[in-house]
């Protein structure tokens, strides 16, 4: 016979266990009862856990467990807040776990476009081009074309040909010809100066120049 036939007393017990973070007992209670889990108490619990003065990993783990025990979703606004803090503070695996466990939808990710673009920028700055396509796959939000072109330029100017090639593969966005021509122009200028620049000798420039043509597949139009 169900120990908690009275929904009110059941709800009270659930609320108390959530508030006191006694999740093992909550798990046992939920499993042993056929009563409806009070959604409001659980949502309040999510809110409380998210704002606890604990490390993110501890808060995230509590949220995860609460979801696992109750199967009640925290609601869009709370998920938005949670996703934002994951995107701002945490690496991708936690975002994957978050999406997987809380069924984060594409429209919700769209509301986080600004934060997601900042995450792209951070990945590109750190040459993590594979993470770029994973984030795209995960959120279904593409990195802005202008951002990608900016990073193509940055990579090529700094001899980061692997990153250029990698980002090109991951985003499928072609580099603008005029951008490559701009770099050729700068290379020619630096080579003719015969003065080492940025720690690199003119010989290095020659090597880069050759590689630039090779990896971009675009020839120097300014060459006689």
């Amino acid at each position: 016979m169900d120990k908690y036939q009275d929904q009110t007393s059941y709800a009270k017990s659930v609320r108390e266990l959530v508030e006191q973070r006694r999740l093992t007992e909550l798990d046992q209670l939920v499993k042993s009862s056929k009563q409806l889990i009070p959604e409001t108490a659980i949502r309040l619990g999510y809110q409380k856990y998210l704002s606890l003065d604990l490390s993110f990993k501890a808060r995230f783990f509590l949220l995860l467990k609460l979801k696992e025990i109750t199967a009640i979703n925290p609601g869009d606004e709370l998920l938005l807040e949670l996703s934002r803090s994951v995107i701002q503070e945490q690496p991708l695996p936690i975002l994957v776990l978050l999406k997987d466990k809380f069924n984060i939808s594409v429209p919700l990710f769209k509301r986080l476009n600004k934060d997601i673009q900042a995450m792209y920028r951070s990945f590109m700055t750190n040459n993590q081009f594979i993470q770029v396509s994973l984030l795209q796959e995960l959120t279904e939000i593409s990195p802005g074309e202008e951002l990608v072109q900016t990073f193509y330029l940055y990579y090529l100017m700094n001899g980061k040909f692997i990153s250029f090639k990698g980002l090109l593969k991951e985003t499928n966005i072609a580099i603008k010809t005029e951008n490559v021509q701009t770099i050729y122009m700068l290379f020619r200028k630096n080579m003719s100066s015969k003065v080492p620049y940025n720690g690199h000798s003119p010989e290095n420039y020659q090597k880069w120049y050759k590689k630039l043509t090779q990896v971009t597949g675009i020839a120097d139009e300014g060459e006689d």
């Binding site: 783990f61 995860l64 991708l92 994957v96 776990l97 980061k160 692997i162």
Partner: protein
Amino acid sequence: MMLQEQLGRTQSSDKAEILKRLFNPRQQQLPSLPTLFGELERLLDNPFSSNRKIADLVKKDPSLVSKIMQLSNSALYGKRQEVKQFENAITYLGTSTLQNLVLQICMVRLFPFNNSDLPEFDAATFWKHALATAFYSELLAKMFKFPQSDEFYLGGLMHDLGKIMLYQYHPDRYEEAILLQLEEQISGISAEIKIFGVDHTDIGVFLAQAWQFSPTIQSIISNHHSQFSNNTSLPVAIVSLGNSLANSYGMGLPWDQPRDLALHKLPVWEWIIQNQPQLDLDPEQVISELSQHSSDIEQSVSILLTH
């Protein structure tokens, strides 16, 4: 003559032959660990060595002492109170950790990363990955209550040694291998074999043998990319997981980031759960637990790389 062409003509040669050709030990091209490290190992093997004796030896290299002091006071090594005397640092860290730190510092000195042809493969990126893998491997070993967790640390630190060798001795070919990996969407191991005839795990073992590292460390280096099977050893599984965690938490080499970020679904978990059922493992808890050490690892790398 292109190395690839040379290898094409020596298809019947075994790995050892290719490795000799790549690094030619007769010309003493292989890096060697400083004598201080060997002396320290001997001293630490002797149970009657006092901290004073150990300290006297290490103090012969003041910059080594300074780095060990900085590291033992850093967040990564679980600083609880400031350690001021080197002798106290030995007690605080323990001799195994001390040995690992000395090795770590010696290795950073041994591979200066002064080749600007491959800017993505810089000292900070490489050592961050090595240190993160070492740190996670040791932490996992401790979490699972395995003895000799420091050996897992060493295995993590050394697992990609072959990559620095390729970079240091054959940077152009190595870049070619990476571009091939990206172009053809193949694994790094396959690309290295196509270009060099051997991969970084073979090279790492080659060096670990020359440096007389234990069979466990050699096995970790050799198998950290292998499929899991009944023959997989626990240290290999743990370091392989440490490696995946480091990569997924954004502390991998740019071209080695995993394609699948669902860390909790990695085959290694299944292997551990099957082979170590007493652990009652919850992958999600471990992933959440280990997700916030990036800045501590960065701090240690910065200490290691500061001159």
